[in-house]
Structure formats: structure tokens, C-alpha cells
């Protein structure tokens, strides 16, 4: 018999020795009472109690008192738990280990914290980390990677690298960055007006682009923009950002394979669409390069409009324009820069013979 009247038999531990002492335990409105002979009854207030086990009503009830040292009482009769609950004021919660479900408030707070943390890592942490790492990656790694990409790309694209088509681009490249290491060029037969920089100093131009542009200055502006991407190592930065993002997602989902998927994706040209932030940086580089060569930054604005006109004719706007900043905003930035620019002197790309030869060759390349 565990219950004597309103009292329950229990075992009491005083927190200094692990030996049990017999106790009688009962409840009243002001707390839990214990009598451990030969001492007089003592009271534990409800807010001092921590329930260790017994909440399920099927096992002995073990209670601890938040005291120093920690005192423990164990009542073998599971019915004691409901007696204790009934004695406690409705507003008093019995502190216990939480059962299976934690407090909703804690979960909501942690979910919010998690989302905030993930967003900060995505928005600030990853770009900062990728930029930091990109500056430390050796140029030969980038070149090797670029060679692999170019090799894969040339297997699927129709390359039209004739000297007539290449010459104006080469002239512009040599004038814009005379001190830099040689630039590689690929002209592909494609109606869509587009240009992009591959890692490892390769610039790809489409025949659609060469057809769309009206002047050598416009071509130089497009090339300067692509060289801007190269200078800032945007392709490396972008792949590092994507890799870090994959790693983060993998970490959250507990799936390490996403990192290797990210590494494979780095070999895919589809990943070469830059963010608006990178396009702005490339525009700024292009404006500075054009000015240094005595050309107006407006050439870039003109080039954009020529491309836009041609793109409307060929279909939906993709490629060179797709991820770029909104055209109006972009044109405004270029015009602002042009206003304060001092344009003087001449440059090596205004070769009308080469330009006309290229325009003539475009027709035959399309046939």
C-alpha cells in the first residue's frame, strides 16, 4: 500500500548522500509536504519543483527541488501525479523536462533565427567569402578551367573564326588592354546578338552581334564590357558563390552530395549568367577603358540599343541583355558617366577597312 489516507509513501534523498530515507508525502494548496522522520514536516513550494518523471501517470513520480544541494523525492504510486496537479493552482506550471514536444515559442524563435541566419549568409556571407577566395585562386587554375569549358563549348557551337570576322575585335582588344596577356576569340554562328567572357581570357561573340553593331566604337564598348568581367574575375567569383550556396544548402538539408553537384555545375556554361551587380561592375570597367582610349562611354549605350533593336527582331531578349540591369537605369548610368568624361585623341580600332571587310564577311558567314 503506497497511499496512507491523503499521504503517499516515498523515498527522500537529501542531495548529499545517495542513501534513501523513508518519507511521507502529501499536497496542500501551498505546496508539497514531506515528513522525513525524525524531523518535522517540511514544505516545498510549487515553483521550486522540477518533475523528472511520472507525467504519463504510469510510472513512479520523481520530483526534485531547486535547492543546493538538490533534494529528490520519489513516490512509487503513479496516482500521486494527478493528486499533485489537482493541488497546484491553475496558473502555476510544473517545470519538467518538456516531454516530446518543446514550447512553440522556442521553435518559432529558432525558425525565425534560422531564416535570418540563412538569409544573412546568402546575402552577405557567401559573396564576401567567394570574393575573398577568388582573389587568391591562381590564374593558371582559371585558365585550365577555361580551356575545358572552351573545348566543350566548341563541340556544340558552329565556330566561324575567319580573319575578316576576327580582325575588328582583335584591334579593339589590343587597344583596350595593350599590356595584358593575349586574348582568345571565338566567333560563333548564331543569330542572337550576344557576347560573353569565358574564364581564362576567351571572349565569345556571335555573328548576330557583329551584324547588329553599327560602329567600331560599339564593338569596342561590348568587348570592353566583357574585359571588365575578366578583370574582376566574375566567372570565378560566381562559381565560388554557387559552390558555397550549394554547400550551405547541403548543410541545411544534411546532404553532402550537393557540393559535388555544384562542382559539376561549374563546368556548365549555363551558369555563366552574371548578376546585375557584376554587370554594373563590368559597365564601370568598360566606361573607364573607353575613356582611356579617347572614346565616349556613350558607345556602350549605343551598342546596347543596337543589340536591343536586333534582339527584338530575332526573338525574346536573352543572353547579353537578360540578367543585365534594367536598360533604362543602365543607359542613365552610362550617360551620367559620359557627361563628366573628357573624350580626346584617337585609338587603334577605328579601322574602316577592317570594319567593312567584317561586315562583308558576315553576309557570307550567314549563308
Amino acid at each position: 500500500v503506497n497511499e496512507i489516507g491523503d499521504r503517499f509513501e516515498g523515498r527522500y534523498f537529501d542531495g548529499t548522500v545517495p542513501e534513501p530515507r523513508a518519507a511521507l508525502v502529501w499536497t496542500s494548496a501551498d505546496g508539497l509536504w514531506l515528513e522525513v522522520a525524525p524531523e518535522p514536516p517540511r514544505r516545498w513550494s510549487f515553483d521550486e519543483l522540477v518533475l523528472i518523471r511520472g507525467a504519463n501517470g504510469r510510472e513512479p513520480v520523481q520530483l526534485e527541488r531547486r535547492s543546493d544541494p538538490v533534494e529528490v523525492v520519489i513516490v512509487n504510486d503513479p496516482a500521486f501525479f494527478s493528486r499533485l496537479r489537482a493541488a497546484m493552482p491553475k496558473t502555476t506550471r510544473l517545470a519538467h523536462d518538456g516531454g516530446t514536444l518543446p514550447a512553440l515559442k522556442l521553435v518559432a524563435m529558432l525558425a525565425l533565427l534560422g531564416a535570418g541566419l540563412l538569409f544573412s549568409i546568402y546575402r552577405f556571407g557567401i559573396p564576401a567569402l567567394a570574393d575573398f577566395a577568388a582573389d587568391r585562386i591562381p590564374a593558371q587554375w582559371e585558365r585550365r578551367w577555361g580551356e575545358q569549358l572552351r573545348h566543350d563549348y566548341e563541340r556544340t557551337a558552329v565556330v566561324a573564326n575567319s580573319e575578316d570576322l576576327l580582325r575588328p575585335a582583335k584591334l579593339a582588344g589590343a587597344s583596350l588592354e595593350p599590356m595584358a596577356e593575349p586574348q582568345s576569340w571565338v566567333i560563333v554562328k548564331e543569330n542572337e546578338p550576344n557576347a560573353f567572357a569565358m574564364p581564362g581570357r576567351t571572349i565569345v561573340l556571335t555573328t548576330g552581334l557583329l551584324r547588329a553593331l553599327d560602329t567600331p566604337d560599339e564593338l569596342a564598348a561590348v568587348i570592353a564590357h566583357e574585359m571588365g568581367h575578366e578583370r574582376r574575375r566574375h566567372s570565378v567569383r560566381m562559381v565560388l558563390r554557387q559552390l558555397s550556396l550549394q554547400a550551405l544548402l547541403g548543410l541545411v538539408a544534411g546532404d553532402r552530395s550537393t557540393v559535388s553537384q555544384g562542382l559539376r555545375a561549374a563546368g556548365d556554361l549555363g551558369s555563366l549568367s552574371y548578376s546585375r551587380e557584376y554587370e554594373r561592375e563590368a559597365d564601370d570597367e568598360a566606361i573607364a577603358m573607353l575613356q582611356r582610349n579617347g572614346a565616349s562611354p556613350l558607345a556602350l549605350a549605343d551598342a546596347l540599343q543596337s543589340i536591343r533593336r536586333a534582339a527584338h527582331a530575332t526573338g525574346p531578349v536573352v543572353g547579353f541583355l537578360s540578367t543585365h540591369p534594367a536598360p533604362a537605369e543602365r543607359l542613365e548610368r552610362i550617360r551620367d558617366a559620359a557627361e563628366s568624361a573628357t573624350v580626346q585623341g584617337t585609338n587603334g580600332w577605328r579601322d574602316s577597312v577592317a570594319w567593312r571587310a567584317m561586315k562583308a564577311a558576315i553576309g557570307s558567314a550567314d549563308d
Binding site: 496512507i4 548529499t16 526534485e64 529528490v72 523536462d97 541566419l117
Partner: protein
């Protein structure tokens, strides 16, 4: 209403006195009473909440699971209780990440991205594994220290006072010896580790004692090592069961001696049954497998002839009320011990 004259029971169930002499010695049998369905429920909710909170809930989940696992163990009639808080684990994990995760990630990326076979890759690989060893030393010791300090039985706290530096240096050497000998020196490393962990652990004022010797394990181990391939690794599973029983049978506390009736064959059978259970349920049965293993192991363990009157709450216990932790790793980020 109150009747103070009510009789107070004279006999206390739970401890079975073994001797009527002046010193009351007790035999305590251990028991694991947790069930697979309870653990599955906890793990299921933990899993969902960890996903919803993008992983941040993990320390709270871990604390909840530890409360269940440790709280399901009883000695005599009384359960152990674990008082660790998710908040403490979270802070410990954060510290560990800040210190170790940055360098480990950087080294891992260097290994992955550098040219295969190059000096950079070899150097980064060496540094990575060295740092990993340091990490595991701190983790093993930090985890034990944290768990012990948050675990009580009958109101008396356990404690662990090992040092990560001492453990790391000594265990690292023995681990190296194990690698160099193609695993043959494993009993030396494992027994030293057990010895270190036990002799630095206390229950209240009483220190655990251990008199196991690696030489006792050498013969069965070498035999299992030789049979590793012909038995498809099963010989090693047998050895682990044998080893666990040996270790407990050479452990003492407060004059009492632990006794385990676990055998290598039983352990092998359990491992096999658990493997099948996990396999056919596609992993869902892991909770049942774990609780079965715990139950079968602890229900065969007892502490005989222990003199509980020798045990006093350790002097430091009174002041450390839960937070403690001057040591960096006391936050208990680690749970792999």
C-alpha cells in the same frame, strides 16, 4: 486533517542489502526501460523541428534525446536524470564551429580544389586530419565532462575531470600506433582510453576504478583480426561485445564491482538482428534497434557489493548550478563519446 502519527515505512525497497554487517553493502542491478516507440516519437518530432528551424533546433533535439536515453536508465529502482539544456549545447556548438569549422572547411576546400597529388594537396590533407584529431580529443573529453556534470542519480552528480590536451596527446600516439600496426595495437589504444575515461570519472566523491589490461584482450583480438576477412568482419563485432563485458567486469565504484553477463556471441546476435531490422524497415527501425541494444546490454549489468554510505556529494557540486563551464568546451557541443 493531517495525521502526523501515520506510520513511516521502515523498509526501503530498491537496495538489496548483501551483508548484515555494520556497513550496509548493496547490489544494484541496472536496467534500461526506454522503448523504441518513445525514442521514435522523440526522434520524429526532433527531425521535423530541426528541418523547420533550418538546423538550429539540433542542440535542443540532442538535449531532448539525451534526457530520454539517460533518463531511461535505472540503477536499483531509481532512474538517472539528465539536466542538460538545449541552450547550453547550442552555445557549445557555436563555440566549436567558430574555432574548428572555419579552418576545417578552408582545408577541405583546399584539398578538393588543388591539383591531385600536388604538395599543396598533401600538406592540406595532413593539416586537415591533424586538426580533426585535435577536434575529436576536445570533443570526446568535452562531451564526457558535460554529460557527467549534468547527470544525477539519487540527487548526486557525476563528474569528469580529464584534460583534453593530455587525452589528445596520449591517445593520439596510441592511435598512430594502431594505424602503423594495421589495427593490431587497437586493444592498447582502446583500453587506455577506457582507463583514462573511467579513472577521471566520479560519482559524487567516489572515483571509478579500472584494472583492465590490454594484454588480456590481445589474444582474442588477434584471433578476430585474423578472422576478419573469412568472417566478413563479423569477428570484430563479436570482439566488441566481449570487450564491453571485459571492461565492465574490471570496473569498480565505492567498493562495489560491476558485473556484466554480456558475451561476444550475444552481442553478435543483437547486431545481426538490429542490422536486419534497420535494413527491412529502411532505417525507420533504428530507434527500436538502439533501445533493444541498450536494454540487452544494461539489463545484464549490475554493481555488486557497493557501499553507498561512502558516497558524498562532491564539494564543488553545491556551487555549480547548471551553467558552470569556465573551460571552453564545457558547453558540451560534442556527443560522440
Amino acid at each position: 486533517m493531517s495525521d502526523f502519527a501515520a506510520p513511516i515505512p521502515a523498509a526501503i525497497p530498491g537496495d538489496e542489502p548483501t551483508s548484515p554487517a555494520r556497513v550496509a553493502l548493496s547490489d544494484l542491478s541496472l536496467q534500461f526501460v526506454g522503448t523504441g516507440s518513445e525514442l521514435f516519437g522523440i526522434q520524429f518530432v526532433n527531425g521535423i523541428l530541426t528541418i523547420v528551424t533550418l538546423g538550429i533546433y539540433y542542440p535542443w533535439a540532442r538535449a531532448r534525446e539525451l534526457r530520454f536515453m539517460i533518463g531511461s536508465l535505472q540503477a536499483g529502482q531509481d532512474r538517472f536524470s539528465f539536466h542538460g539544456q538545449g541552450r547550453e549545447l547550442f552555445l557549445g556548438l557555436l563555440r566549436a564551429w567558430l574555432i574548428f569549422l572555419g579552418p576545417l572547411t578552408a582545408l577541405w576546400f583546399t584539398m578538393y580544389l588543388s591539383k591531385p597529388g600536388s604538395d599543396v594537396q598533401i600538406l592540406a590533407g595532413f593539416a586537415f586530419y591533424l586538426l580533426l584529431l585535435v577536434f575529436f580529443s576536445f570533443a570526446a573529453v568535452g562531451s564526457l565532462r558535460y554529460r557527467a556534470s549534468r547527470t544525477r542519480w539519487r540527487g548526486i552528480r557525476f563528474a569528469f575531470d580529464g584534460s583534453a590536451r593530455e587525452f589528445g596527446a596520449q591517445y593520439g600516439l596510441r592511435l598512430l600506433l594502431t594505424i602503423v600496426t594495421l589495427g593490431l595495437a587497437y586493444p592498447i589504444a582502446a583500453t587506455w582510453r577506457r582507463d583514462y575515461f573511467l579513472t577521471h570519472a566520479r560519482f559524487g566523491s567516489e572515483r571509478f576504478e579500472f584494472d583492465g589490461k590490454a594484454s588480456d584482450l590481445m589474444r582474442p583480438y588477434v584471433l578476430c583480426w585474423l578472422l576478419l576477412l573469412p568472417t566478413f568482419g563479423l569477428s570484430m563485432t563479436w570482439f566488441h561485445g566481449f570487450q564491453q563485458a571485459y571492461y565492465w567486469n574490471h570496473t569498480r565504484l565505492a567498493g562495489g564491482k560491476f558485473s556484466s553477463t554480456m558475451t561476444g556471441g550475444l552481442w553478435l546476435g543483437l547486431a545481426f538482428a538490429n542490422g536486419v531490422l534497420i535494413g527491412i524497415t529502411f532505417g525507420i527501425g533504428a530507434a527500436w534497434a538502439l533501445t533493444t541494444l541498450q536494454r540487452e546490454f544494461f539489463n545484464r549489468l549490475s554493481l555488486q557489493g557497493v557501499d553507498l554510505s561512502r558516497v558524498r556529494a562532491a564539494a564543488s557540486e553545491g556551487t555549480a548550478t547548471g551553467e558552470g563551464a569556465a573551460d571552453l568546451f564545457d558547453g558540451g557541443a560534442f556527443d560522440m563519446a
